[in-house]
């Protein structure tokens, strides 16, 4: 089965290359795939690889209460009950500071491993969760795209290296950012459940039954609806679960992760990195940011979950000697209205900051925090940095990909990562 799969992927790659569908998206990937085939060592290849972890904050995170313009008097005027006073803010410089519950991230700032990109948005921002999420993930500003920007990247990677763990999505549904027409992204909620249980009465550990099942999948008519999806899903599941369980047997986290699905997910991603499963793109989502009412306690709890999870993840990687190989990027579909509403909450807004975290980053505030007094017609912030230039920076300067090929145009770059 294993050999068959490898052969299939190789064939797939040849077809893709010949058809020029994905010419040079991933130069580094091609290079390492070549060196891999020369020395045959997966570990040697993945040890030099760079991983991107994308953290989605779903629901529209309140950027103004995340990275707080505490010295601007307009801030507290617009947020009479929700505003966080200067003395409680984790101050980063004379203008900006973090939400108090983000204090676990302060040591990363102090040691130079945290960058903040301010005022991130795009022209004519949508106030619809779903259109905005589509735009951030597919880059189609009409919100009607289907292939995700990371999916495009990952599809090339899988084809070129034939490794089922090139990307890993934590959850029960593959994120739209990772959707692609040609690659299946392993998606799981925990290592324990990522496994096929045998019939306890089988004496062969379920092999015969699984072989018969794979025959039903391999021979399912290609022309039937979902045939390719079903077949690749079944293959990916088998390969992936075996590798993950092998890795799991020897992985020991170096820190105690906080409880909850977000930190659990980060732990699985750390495991894939530490155990050299060849992870290049990891994805995890933290939801619940749509704080239209009674925002304070909800948002503080989410900030705590985010900061404690990311801090534990970083420490685990550092203890395993992997912190130089990993960059974390957070995003949310929009920030929230500058002025708080009458329900102790905030309505849908626009521009917001993104965090970029990891040893490779240049510490600092990049981009300009939007003015709180020059707002758009809906009372929302005017963006100062296009999110696509943030993606481009990560692709060009960290992943060794061509951002122009992945994103479809040249969006420039920011300096939160050094030029390669």
């Amino acid at each position: 089965m294993k050999l068959t799969r490898r052969a299939m992927i190789k064939d797939g790659l040849l077809v893709v290359s010949a058809g020029m569908v994905m010419p040079s998206i991933f130069s580094r990937g091609v290079a390492s795939a070549k060196s891999l085939s020369l020395d045959g060592s997966r570990v040697a290849q993945t040890a030099s690889d760079r991983t991107l972890i994308v953290v989605q904050l779903a629901g529209g995170n309140d950027g103004l209460n995340t990275v707080i313009p505490y010295s601007d008097p307009t801030y507290l005027k617009m947020r009479p009950t929700l505003g966080i006073p200067a003395e409680k803010v984790v101050q980063l410089d004379t203008r900006l500071g973090l939400h108090p519950s983000l204090s676990p991230l302060k040591p990363l700032w102090d040691s130079g491993h945290l960058a903040i990109v301010e005022g991130v948005g795009y022209p004519n921002q949508s106030l619809s969760h779903f259109q905005a999420m589509d735009i951030w993930q597919t880059l189609d500003l009409n919100g009607t795209g289907s292939e995700g920007w990371l999916g495009k990247l990952v599809a090339g990677l899988v084809d070129q290296q034939g490794h089922p763990f090139k990307s890993l999505d934590i959850g029960v549904q593959t994120a739209q950012a990772l959707q692609s027409i040609s690659a299946q992204v392993p998606t799981l909620s925990s290592v324990k459940t990522y496994n096929v249980y045998p019939d306890p009465a089988d004496t062969d550990g379920g092999n015969a039954r699984m072989q018969a099942l794979m025959k039903l999948y391999n021979t399912y008519p290609r022309s039937a609806p979902y045939a390719a999806l079903l077949d690749t899903t079944a293959l990916a599941a088998q390969d992936g679960s075996r590798q993950l369980h092998q890795a799991d047997a020897t992985y020991r986290p170096a820190v105690t992760y906080p409880k909850g699905p977000f930190a659990d997910g980060l732990k699985v991603l750390a495991e894939a990195i530490v155990q050299n499963l060849g992870l290049r793109v990891g994805y995890v989502t933290l939801g619940g940011f749509d704080t239209h009412a009674n925002q304070s306690a909800t948002h503080a709890a989410l900030m705590t979950t985010l900061a404690n999870g990311l801090a534990a993840f970083y420490q685990d990687l550092a203890a395993h000697g992997k912190a130089d190989n990993v960059v974390v990027m957070t995003w949310s579909e929009f920030g929230r209205r500058v002025e708080e509403n009458g329900s102790l909450g905030t309505d849908h807004g626009t521009a917001a900051p993104m965090f970029i975290l990891g040893n490779p980053v240049n510490r600092g505030i990049f981009g300009e925090p939007p003015s709180l007094s020059s707002l758009d017609q809906n009372g929302n912030l005017k963006y100062t940095i296009d999110f696509r230039s943030v993606y481009a920076t990560v692709l060009d300067r960290w992943m060794g990909a061509s951002s122009k090929d992945v994103l479809g145009a040249d969006y420039g770059s920011q300096n939160f990562l050094p030029k390669p």
Binding site: V172, V196, Y197, D199, T203, L229, H292
Partner: protein
């Protein structure tokens, strides 16, 4: 958050027209619009007037008008589908011929408009013919569901507990004799959705069941009544913050999603309509397990909303929305995608839109048109979607006639990607729109493990407990005397009797391979015995096969 989380504005006056019983769903709102609005498209039949009658009366009215619309007979199927594809998929041929419907026709119907069927149910519905079967599904109140109700009551589930709530509904779906009613309720739960995570805290979880009962009781009502009811539904009031909205400080949340996700869709309204709609919708607040409309907390300034001007209130908002030309297309697309296939064309949707307008927005009439449409019975619709986690989980439970207590089922559907009463967000489950999203390596393995649990384990974690399916009993009762008759019996209701001969052979080979399994033997009625793991392994293969993942 507190169960009696109340707005800060005191409520001195309670509108008597809206005072309902102390518990149970809020009454469907009544009363004519307060300002003249555009007339409704067909003969002005937006029936929001009249006494605050009971829900059952409303149902009665709705169902009569279903009968009145009808008239779109069963049409021979293959329109627009290439003959080759039609044959390849086995088709739902001979739709209009012969009184007895085929296994494929009825299997298809009961999967799409329900949750699959047992062998006995297949017989019952086949004898009715296709359109008779559709009528039985739509006229569900003529079918008693008392047996299910008493089985559910006997379980003494705690309906304020989210896990028990899920078991309660999953078992309803598995055991009901009114499958379309439950399927339609599931459809509405994915559209007019709320989550127990934001309905007012632990003491208020019951609000989810109240909402669920509302959606069930009004599943085939007019869209006017459905939207009026959901606007004043306690769970929805809390979930989308309308209960926090006040006269002077309207909250935008419900006003936006009502247009974006329940009626018009993006592009048919502006941010101004969100502001003005929010002001018009003020006045409703949660009170315990019910809700109250307080006219004194209604913003009575003049609003300009979607081209209408006046001192608009929630009834006007709903009336404007159900009569907006974008609404029938929006809701027809959702229905068609959920029940038939994805990416419907304008031609596919037009008959549903016409029925919506002609029937005075009656969803039962729209569903009758949908189920009797040639598209519904087309080859393109056959196995056109990946089964949702609920469809898969309930479907297997139902088809195998399992009478367990549903313990563990909520965890399983969650691992597959769907938790009842806990959608990922206000847009419901993305898989309802694009069913391929239900399937990935993790959820696929959970599907396999669930079937293994039903057939071989009893529980997902432990080995050695009693499986939920008594295979020897089924074999004896149905006089299954050979591997062939075993496969054919289960294929008849699990796979619509539609199993390619090569693939049938894979199953027979597995069944008949000699094996020293640890599970003992199963004896067919011919007297010949086979290893238990091979027998139940064959059934496992059928229920984990590609075909069985599809709806």
């Amino acid at each position: 958050m507190d169960l009696n989380d109340q707005p800060t504005t005191p409520q001195e006056s309670i509108d008597p027209a809206h005072s309902g019983p102390a518990a149970g769903p809020p009454p469907v709102s009544s009363g004519a619009p307060t300002v003249p609005l555009a007339p409704s498209p067909a003969n002005g039949t937006v029936k929001t007037t009249g006494q605050p009658s009971s829900r059952r009366t409303f149902m009665g009215k709705s169902l009569k008008s279903i009968a009145a619309v009808g008239g779109i007979g069963v049409v021979a199927a293959a329109g627009g589908i290439a003959l080759e594809q039609w044959i390849q998929h086995g088709g739902l041929n001979n739709l209009a011929s012969g009184p007895m419907a085929s296994e494929q026709q009825i299997g298809h119907l009961l999967r799409k408009a329900g949750f699959g069927a047992t062998a006995a149910e297949m017989d019952t519905y086949r004898k009715l013919g296709f359109s008779g079967a559709v009528d039985r599904l739509l006229n569900y109140m003529q079918v008693s569901d008392d047996a299910m109700e008493s089985r559910l009551n006997a379980l003494n589930l705690n309906l304020n507990n989210p896990n028990d709530q899920q078991r309660w509904w999953l078992l309803r779906m598995a055991w009901t004799q009114r499958p379309l009613l439950e399927k339609m309720t599931l459809f509405w739960h994915g559209v007019l959705t709320s989550s127990f995570r934001k309905v007012g805290g632990k003491a208020a979880y019951m609000r989810m069941i109240i909402q669920n009962q509302f959606l069930r009781q009004h599943a085939f009502d007019t869209y006017d009544n459905i939207l009026l009811g959901i606007t004043s539904d306690p769970a929805m009031l809390f979930y989308l913050d309308l209960t926090k909205s006040t006269k002077n400080q309207p909250n935008e949340n419900y006003a936006r999603e009502l247009m974006e996700l329940f009626t018009l869709g993006l592009g048919h309204y502006t941010q101004r309509d969100v502001y003005e709609g929010a002001a018009a919708l003020t006045g409703w607040h949660v009170r315990g397990l019910t809700s109250r409309y307080n006219p004194r907390d209604h913003n009575d300034l003049t609003k300009v909303y979607l081209g209408h001007t006046g001192n608009l209130d929630y009834k006007d908002v709903i009336n404007i929305l159900v009569n907006n030309p974008a609404t029938p297309w929006f809701i027809a697309r959702k229905l068609f995608t959920f029940f038939v296939y994805e990416n419907p064309s304008t031609d596919d949707l037009k008959p549903l839109v016409d029925t919506y307008v002609q029937s005075g927005h009656n969803m039962g009439a729209v569903m009758k048109t949908l189920l009797n449409s040639p598209q519904f019975s087309s080859a393109k619709a056959y196995r056109s979607r990946i089964k949702s986690p609920i469809e898969f989980t309930v479907g297997a439970y139902r088809a195998l006639g399992i009478t367990g207590d549903g313990n563990g089922l909520p965890t399983i559907t969650t691992l597959m990607g769907q938790t009842l009463f806990d959608p990922p967000n206000v847009a419901g489950w993305p898989g309802d729109k694009v069913s391929a999203l239900w399937l990935n390596s993790g959820t696929w393995m959970t599907r396999l493990n669930y079937i293994d649990l039903l057939l071989a384990r009893g529980t997902i974690a432990r080995t050695g407990s009693t499986p939920l399916v008594d295979l020897q009993g089924i074999i004896n009762a149905n006089k299954i005397d050979s591997p062939e008759s075993f496969v054919d019996y289960f294929a008849s209701f699990l796979l619509d009797g539609n199993l390619d001969s090569d693939r049938r052979q894979v199953l027979l080979d597995y069944f008949t391979t000699s094996d020293i399994g640890r599970g003992g033997q199963i004896m067919l009625t011919s007297g010949k015995s086979y290893p238990l793991n091979r027998v139940r392994g064959t059934l496992y293969l059928m229920m984990t096969s590609p075909e069985y993942q599809l709806n």
